[in-house]
Amino acid sequence: MNPEFIDINDFRARMETLRRTGMNFLRDIIGMDWGEEGLGAIYSLENTSTGQVLQTAVRCCDREKPSIPTVCDLWSVAELYEREVYDFFGIHFAGHPDMRRLYLRNDWVGHPLRKDYNEDEAINPIRMENEIPEDVQRPYELAEDAEMEISDKLTNKIHGDQYIINIGPQHPATHGVLRFRLALDGEEIRKIDIHCGYIHRGIEKMSEKMTYPQILALTDRLDYLSAHQNRHALCMCIEKAMGIEITDRTQYIRTIMDELQRIDSHLLFLSCAAMDLGAITTFIYGFRDREKILDIFEEVTGGRLIQNYNTIGGVQYDITPDFAKKVKEFCQYQKGKLQEYNDVFTNNIITRKRMIGVGILSYDDAISYGCTGGTGRASGWACDVRKRHPYALYDKVDFKEIIYKNGDCYDRFLVRLDEIVESIHIIEQLIDNIPEGDYKVKTKPIIRIPEGRYSASVEGSRGEFGVFIESKGDKSPYRIKFRPMGLPLVAAMHKILKGAKIADLIAIGATLDYVIPDIDR
């Protein structure tokens, strides 16, 4: 991919034009450190009605006080993306209302993804005391002489007289270590502040020192419920960059595995959503059925949760002889079980009362916040990468893109249930026709990607998962960026939560279906 470099002075005007001309989906903002050439960011945009894709980039030569105009008023999701870039590269986004670090602590010294970052442990020791809450802070503002300066105004993120409560980092309903700081008025939520980074492992930073096959092992640990798809995306990106043609057999295996993984993830979603609403029996039912997929995974790949199956040029091992039989058995079994979920949970009057009309995310907000996956489709946005930019065998199989209209919790729930059916349908079309051939093509012993920028994206279990690689022709990438599926969902939380109660927060969180290791990469 070749981004269109925009001069920093024209940047804001150009982005506004792009937004006006229909580039309404901001896929990702990739912070970059180009060394001598300065710091900058690459913006990946898409027009959701025409499918036109465009990358723009902006560069800022000042390494001491880098600053780029914000775009968070054009695309709402940019608010968190820009905070991430600020956190890792120290680029200030002029006009951003809330320029705080997103992942790291406030007292962290330096910006880790910069190439000149000092990794000395003495600078950033393990701190034993708590972080001071930043209820009060000073936003950056663009002064008259176009210089960044810290304004004197203090903004209160959360007002002191409200009842402040932490949901997380250790909480049964956040499905991981995510922390919401809530301001409550009785049971109603007035304000929400999101704190990420409790399990941030710096995978992107680690990757810059690793060879490509080593990086592969990390992708499974991003969103562990779409381990196959994540790895598929990275393999696809590397194969595309190196010009490796993979065999049909590999394509079949990958597609089937992706879909099995999707069913696995959606079953877990169903279980956890039910559990969060208090229906523990449904939780057990979902896990009982998910176990069957995990058994198949275990037999073929050796792993149950983290499979490490895809590899550059193919898959790690060939499928087992009775793979097809087992998968077909599972498909038959699972189809019968869907009615059971509906009987015991979906059609329950309390479930419907708890979900219908709760946590509505409108069509426009879904796009502006970049909420892909089931969440976006529940709001009526046809955002399935498998349809928009088909990869693997998705253009050869027949399947429906599940789209609902209301964008409430119930629709988000139904989307996933229906997608299980579609995934089974896809698997059934492929499973009998897996062609003979190599499961893996021979690659060079040392993988080097030619200089350039490459990207690939797949439909993960909960949205679009993208990989961006900038290579200088070495064994390891100059910069690798994974587009998180969960961050846009969490970004949209405060919009969805307007007037909601604590119990609604749980229902909304459950149906948004974010996975924390994917947010904290």
Partner: protein, 358 residues
């Protein structure tokens, strides 16, 4: 039917013959308290085991199987574990109230428990306003929960306690209305008389439609009173981690836990006393031989059988339904159950006045 008062009277006379009357009374009080608490704890253990097995059956599992045959000793092991656990004291908590709260909850539940008629004459407290006493004694359990939430100095606990207060005080109204309609039907408030009046036909049959409606409302409200799903918002674990008892450990937590289970037993016990005839056997008029056979089954079995049937119904609900939201809980009570309960009381009174009951 065997009358247990013959045994109690014999013991009473024996004690009076060997001891001065004050001392005899003291010994009797201790004996009764011992029996009541022992029965309370044993039933709690049975209930916990039952809950685990019933829940396992609903979820296609086996439940506890390892400790003892069919996991029978599991609950004993758990109780033992809870007994030896440290009771943690919380910094900045209100120490007195914090330690008092679990005892209040258990006390209210033991007091109510002692009003239950297990068989003819097998009852600790029995006086002419028995039903009133039950309602009064059961309603101060909420005080313990509120204190627990307040004194823990924890925001989750506080929200749980406030929810609990709103919920339990609301639903007491419905329970009161249901009990009132049975009182209207029977014309007495003494529990032994209430049960005796059902010897020829249980109130749920004699009061037909209004009694049945009262029974259903009672089950819903009783479920809410015991803070069990779908009304478990005070301790909604996915929202408030553990609600009002988040900060409690060891036996203090155990008290809340046991009291919750025993409140379920009490709710079911009162339901079976008021609606299903308590310890009276099933009699169908005209089938004399059938009635005689039924009479051979002891009253304790009848009472426990009916009670555990109601408990099973409530467990079924517990393991099937998702949780309600607080505004839904309150609107269910004030918009639906209370008006229906009032209307039902009116109909019941009308039926009794016009003689439309069996």
């Amino acid at each position: 039917m065997f009358d247990f008062s013959t045994i109690t009277t014999a013991i009473d006379q024996f004690l009076h013959s060997v001891l001065p009357s004050q001392a005899a009374l003291l010994v009797e009080c201790i004996l009764v308290a011992l029996c009541a608490v022992l029965a309370y704890v044993m039933l709690a253990i049975v209930m916990i085991f039952m809950e685990r097995k019933v829940c396992a059956a609903f979820q296609c599992r086996l439940g506890p199987m390892r400790v003892g045959p069919w996991g029978l000793l599991q609950v004993f092991a758990d109780v033992f574990k809870m007994l030896i656990k440290e009771i943690i004291s919380i910094k900045n908590s209100d120490k007195v109230l914090y330690n008092l709260a679990p005892y209040l909850v258990v006390m209210s539940s033991v007091l109510t428990f002692s009003c239950l008629p297990f068989a003819k004459g097998l009852q600790v407290l029995d006086f002419n306003i028995g039903v009133f006493f039950i309602m009064a004694a059961s309603s101060f359990g909420v005080l313990g929960i509120l204190l627990a939430g307040w004194s823990s100095n924890n925001k989750y606990s506080m929200i749980g306690a406030v929810r609990s207060g709103a919920q339990m005080i609301s639903y007491e109204l419905s329970i009161g209305l249901c009990i009132l309609s049975i009182v209207a039907l029977s014309g007495t408030m003494q529990i032994s008389e209430l049960v005796a009046a059902q010897a020829d036909g249980w109130f749920i049959f004699r009061g037909h439609i209004p009694a049945f409606v009262a029974f259903i409302i009672y089950l819903i409200a009783g479920n809410a009173e015991t803070n069990r799903a779908p009304f478990d918002l005070p301790e909604a674990e996915s929202e408030l981690t553990a609600g009002f008892h988040t900060e409690y450990s060891g036996m203090h937590f155990g008290f809340f836990y046991v009291a919750e289970f025993m409140n379920l037993f009490i709710v079911a016990g009162i339901a079976s006393t008021l609606f299903l005839g308590g310890w009276t056997p099933l009699h169908i008029s005209g089938f004399d031989s059938f009635n005689t056979i039924m009479d051979y089954i002891p009253g304790v079995v009848w009472f426990l059988g009916k009670t555990f049937f109601v408990i099973w119904l409530l467990m079924w609900v517990r393991w099937t339904f998702p949780r309600l939201r607080i505004d839904q809980v309150v609107s269910l009570e004030w918009k639906y159950l209370v008006p229906i309960g009032l209307l039902n009381l009116l109909i019941m009174t009308l039926c009794v006045v016009m003689g439309w009951t069996f």
